[in-house]
Symmetry: C2
Subunit: 290 residues, 2 copies
Amino acid sequence: MSDINQFNITQKVKDSFETEPDSRFEKILHSVIDHLHDCTRELNVTHDEWMGVLNFLYDCGQISTPERHEFILLSDVLGFSALVDMINTRGGATEGSNLGPFYLDDAPEKKLGANLADDREGVTVLVHGTVTDILHKPLPGAIIDTWQADATGTYPIQEQEQGQDKMDLRGKFTCDEQGRYYYTTVLPKPYTVPYDGPVGKLLRAGNRHAWRAAHLHYIVRAQGMHDITTEVFFENTEYIDNDAVFGVRKSLIAKLEPAKKIDELGFETEKKPDAMFKFDFVLAPESKKR
Amino acid sequence: MSDINQFNITQKVKDSFETEPDSRFEKILHSVIDHLHDCTRELNVTHDEWMGVLNFLYDCGQISTPERHEFILLSDVLGFSALVDMINTRGGATEGSNLGPFYLDDAPEKKLGANLADDREGVTVLVHGTVTDILHKPLPGAIIDTWQADATGTYPIQEQEQGQDKMDLRGKFTCDEQGRYYYTTVLPKPYTVPYDGPVGKLLRAGNRHAWRAAHLHYIVRAQGMHDITTEVFFENTEYIDNDAVFGVRKSLIAKLEPAKKIDELGFETEKKPDAMFKFDFVLAPESKKR
């Protein structure tokens, strides 16, 4: 038996796993072990510090429920979710951004021009644009799946106990023959990520706020194309430069315009909007999974 | 606002924390973010893989209770606990090894020569040695705090419901004027770490076993000296080359000897042993905490 020490232990741990050579599982396992062992050595971690980290993870686990995934939140505030979104953005396609915790896959289908907000308070905005491929060819029949907070920064699903319908402020639209979509809704407001748990404690320890810039969520799908999950933000709104989960990209910021331009577009809408903005989605072709 | 991308996001995440410059908190936070962002980029992590990791952590959290800390177990099987033990071993002192989950700080005080095992089945062994400083000066009054599994690989604390006393097979001994300690107990057997949870799933996915080499646990303390937490193993026993938590070091392996040599030592023991081994502990002076 060769002796084990703080330098060769990393290789020994990797060797202890009998993984298929060059498999994805092996690559992930080895990379995580390499990086975290390096980190531990570099910092000369003490026993107290190491237990602090393990207890932080324990606390994240204890506050988690099927409705609250504190590890996703941790990933969000440390920029990992954004980084994974960036890594997986296809060249030429719309940049990806956070899925967030409030997506429901069975949102109701709506007709183009419908109003998602009923008679909710807030600024009614016309949202419109096109879905095209990376060569700007329209994609008729593309599906725009959207969900959002209201003008108080709340998702109806968070207020089900107060009588709200979780399907409110959600909808799936099918693009017309020119690849266009359009609907009205209320402008959402900023809100905070949950900060009453261990992740909130971490934010406070680093003097960070928990606010997200106001945004609309989208998943856009079309036959033969790679889905995109993203968010659309608004120019010159609060937290646009310091979103708590690093979701904002320049290319995802829309510019609000006055309603007077709406007539030129010729859209029939259920409700008369106060303002409007345009956002075009670009999808890349599906690639074979590795 | 400068745009964010997969290369500058790491600095932006670090900058989002207003930590005291060069504080330990800042160093740890920055190093963890740097290494894990690098790891994520290097692997080109997909959304499914990232959710797989987050759900693995979620599952570890869900199975954890005040009696079961799955994150410590994860740290153990990935060699982090051993690495932290190695990093924190003082030059010249006995090497550290796993504390494990069964330590109780209020073990009963026992007299030198006592038998820890009552009339339990198994091989009764005389355990003896000295506690000295790194210049070999004996440390009279040093405290040997020990706990162990029995000859079936079970800690009495695990069988409290079957009527076992959790304080069995534990004891604190005070070294005599020559810094010597001696007592008898049964030889422990190997046992498995818990493998019915997410960490067990990881071990199985990597074709790894969950067995620990048989060992005795020790915390050794003396006035003005740095405590050591360690384990003592036995030459040529099962799993000595592939302990599931990387706890074995060459310097921590004791050699069992026949009982006939015991008379030469002149120790008075409560029970007549079948075998014996010697293990000397060496403590380094306390250093100021950073």
